[in-house]
Amino acid sequence: MERNTDRSEFARKALKDLGTSIYNQMEEGRFPEVMIPSRQTNNIYYDPKLEQYVLGDKRVVRSADNVKHVKPLAQLLWVARIGKELIDYDRVSTLRDLFYMSKNIDINFATQQESDEAVYDLEALLSMPRESFNIFPHDRGAIFGDLTVRYRVKGFKDSLINLTDNPDGVNIGPALDNAELVKTTADKVIAIEKGAIFIQMIREKVHEKFNAILIDTTGQASRSARLLIRRLNEELGLPVYILTDCDVWGAHISMVIISGSVNSAHITGLNTPSAKWLGFWPTDINRYKVPTMKMKELDWKRLAELKADPRYKEKFWKEQLDAFERLGLKAELEAFSSKNKSVSQTFLVETYIPEKLKELGAI
């Protein structure tokens, strides 16, 4: 496991290879072409070994020989070019920003969807997430805990930062994304769906009590958050536990961290197969006797969708979905507050989390 790989260097090389291939084809007097893994739904498969969705073998040829292809091909190369510039100058951009940048040059993206597509194509072609060439989503998610990182961003180069320094946690942004993970005393990661619970847990010193790095995913985890979780797991060997509301949406937030999303099937390496859903499980509802709500129509619809997903065929997940179906109930993490002894001693932190960690063999 190479801990010190600079993703930027790696992306720079991939972009150079792409450029060289196109350059050589043109120099040799041929209309350049590339073969991009197809991102059509009929080419997306669940790979049980990787425990995530991946693209199949179907390839799309984009040839400059074809008047319909030449524009998307030029657009793809433009994104690559911008990617190289972003890396070279140590700048970051977003999908939205990229679309506006394209107005500078007559590259004719009609809509942002079109420029987004070009980015996805480049991701699929290079088999790397856009974060590798410095195109990031808006910051979403935060991290807190005893983790020392070394930034690679210009101006912060080589500065070591401990992630307990900021009481609100540290944004999971581009700098952190490519930072070197230097050292930690923690022995686990707890990812939490809700920002409010995340802050509450910092105040209750959960990171110390359970020797954990806390991550706020703010709902569905962003790709940066998922990548960071995977790196903590892979590079530092920390087991990962995920805490969500007790509903089908929470279940799926866990599932995406564990086995990725269909939308990112063209990129591998964002998921953490060994991560565990810590709770709040539907099978916990009767055990803890907390206030619940009836599942709504949307919840039922989503439940049906999840039941059709191959990843939920596994015994544990099947049991949880069956429990939702049997009970027809859902509950929020906040429901545990109904059993708090005082505001400083919450049932969630004092009772639920340790019991669940014990149950999963984490402590």
């Binding site: 196109i22 043109m26 693209l55 030449v70 030029a74 070019r81 040059i105 088999s127 790397m128």
Partner: protein, 529 residues
């Protein structure tokens, strides 16, 4: 009583009925005079394999007020008129009485003589004729016609050495007219004549001193028409009787094969047998009933070959194309000459041209069609919307040919040549909708339209290729720049060379080499593919 039944001579008839033959107003007369004289001159040239050079000068004559008076001078390089024929050719009005199966612009000389007579009637003008047949002498006559007796009156007759080797005819006389109103039609007349006769040189100097000059653009000429025997589809009882009277003792089979075009002995025999006649019967033996039956059979027998077109002189696809190109400057020209057909035994040939794009403008209002009509090489300038050609064009479903008639820059040219053009009226300005003629025009235009559609779609493809190259150039140039930047090179690939060679080098699939040694940190691990 005797006065009422007095014989009316032709000159007198014209004098009293000049409006019937197109001289019904000063401006119409001006146009008719120019036109009739030019056509006589052209007949004197191309009927004899001479490349026409016709020069017309029209000038105003100072008068005493009243109707404007003009002097016309026309010179041609035609065959000329023999000395002894001059007074009768120009000073006596004759009907063309000769039975002739030969295409002419008009009835022999009649229009020209009426023009001269019109000058005499309106301006009391004598006509001056100068002519030579290319010999050592040039003759000049000053003439008029005694209308009452229809005989030439000679005032002067000169003879001079032909120092300039003149051959042709020069005619000069005065007439009352109105050039101002006739101007547009006369100019249109020369313009269209130049279109249909690219081998003619035409010069016109109008009373304002404006020169209209159409040089000859080709020395190729259509074959002049030759006289031929009648076609069996065109016989009538009177003609048949006359022909039989000349050969009373020949057998029917021999009579038919010797006296009709397109009928050999075998065809004659087959025809006679299938209609129940004995091929060996002498023609004089035929009863009146049999004769009538024979006429009907001859007119209706379907297996005679179409009439011999050698009595016709179509201008041909090549010359038609030249003429259209020169005057309309279109982007596309398609022309069709149909095989000879006959209506009522009169052979005719339809030629059409379609010109598209280039200098041709789309119609300025819906329903308008740019149509140039010709009959026996004469432009028809009046009543175009009554003409059979217009009806045919308007009845065609142009969507089939990818043409929007109301918007397309398209012009049509139709030429009908025949020993007898089926004019609708005595004014000879538009052609009647005879089914046979209508059908041929329809077929000819559709044939040309099909060719036009091929050319248009070829052009569309060429335009597509051009657009494609433009798009490719734009994006390939970008790709050249981007890939040079990505590959960290300095010199950009040559896009022009690539486009020129059309990327001819064989394509190689999977040309892009993806990153070859991914690190094992997992974050970059490639998919299973």
């Amino acid at each position: 009583m005797s006065e009422q039944f007095q014989e009316l001579n032709v000159a007198d008839f014209f004098y009293k009925n000049k409006d019937l033959v197109g001289f019904d107003s000063p401006h119409k007369a001006t146009y008719m005079i120019v036109r009739e004289l030019v056509e006589n001159s052209l007949d004197a040239c191309d009927g004899h394999k001479i490349l026409p050079d016709v020069r017309v000068t029209l000038s105003k004559v100072e008068g005493d007020g009243g109707q404007e008076r003009y002097h016309i001078k026309i010179v041609d390089n035609g065959i000329g008129v023999p000395l002894e024929a001059v007074p009768y050719a120009f000073g006596k009005v004759l009907f063309g009485s000769k039975y002739s199966m030969r295409q002419n612009r008009g009835t022999f000389g009649l229009g020209g003589k009426m023009s001269i007579l019109y000058g005499q009637i309106t301006a009391n003008s004598r006509v001056t004729i100068t002519t030579s047949q290319g010999g050592s002498k040039v003759y000049t006559f000053e003439l008029s016609t005694d209308i009452r007796t229809n005989t030439p009156v000679i005032y002067r007759r000169d003879e001079a050495d032909n120092k300039s080797h003149f051959r042709g005819v020069k005619i000069e006389f005065d007439f009352e007219g109105d050039y101002g109103k006739a101007r547009d039609k006369i100019i249109e007349y020369f313009y269209e004549t130049a279109m249909i006769l690219p081998y003619a040189q035409l010069t016109f100097i109008d009373p304002n001193g404006t020169l209209l000059f159409y040089p000859r653009i080709t020395e190729k000429m259509p074959t002049p028409p030759v006289e031929t025997q009648p076609h069996p589809h065109g016989v009538d009882l009177e003609l048949l009787k006359r022909m039989m009277a000349a050969n009373p003792h020949t057998s029917l089979q021999v009579f038919l094969s010797k006296n009709f075009q397109r009928v050999g002995e075998r065809t004659a025999k087959a025809f006679l047998k299938s209609n129940g006649f004995d091929p060996h019967m002498e023609v004089s033996q035929l009863s009146t009933k049999q004769l009538t039956k024979l006429v009907t059979a001859l007119r209706e027998y379907p297996d005679f070959l179409p009439p011999d077109p050698s009595c016709l002189s179509p201008i041909g696809e090549e010359l038609l194309r030249e003429g259209i190109k020169r005057l309309l400057s279109p982007e596309h020209v398609v022309v069709t000459t149909r095989p000879a057909r006959a209506y009522e035994g009169n052979p005719f040939i339809v030629e059409v041209g379609i010109a598209y794009g280039g200098a041709i403008m789309p119609p300025d209002k819906p329903g308008k069609v740019q149509l140039y009509r010709f009959a026996n090489k004469i432009p028809l300038l009046y009543d175009e919307y009554s003409d059979v050609s217009m009806a045919v064009i308007q009845n065609i479903n142009w969507n089939q040919y990818k043409v929007k008639l109301d918007e397309a820059p398209i012009a049509f040219i139709t030429h009908i040549c025949s020993t007898k053009v089926p004019y609708k009226t005595a004014g000879k300005e538009y052609v009647a909708a005879r089914p046979e003629v209508e059908r041929e025009i329809d077929l000819a235009i559709k044939q040309a339209a099909r060719e036009l559609r091929v050319q248009l779609s070829r052009m569309e493809k060429a335009e597509y290729r051009e657009r494609r190259t433009e798009v490719l150039r734009k994006y390939l140039s970008m790709m050249a720049s981007f890939s040079t930047f990505l590959a960290e090179k300095t010199k950009e690939p040559d896009v022009d060379l690539l486009l020129k060679e059309g990327g001819a080098k064989k394509r190689r699939r999977g040309a892009v080499q993806l990153v070859d040694d991914p690190p094992e940190d997992g974050s970059m691990k490639k998919g299973k593919a």
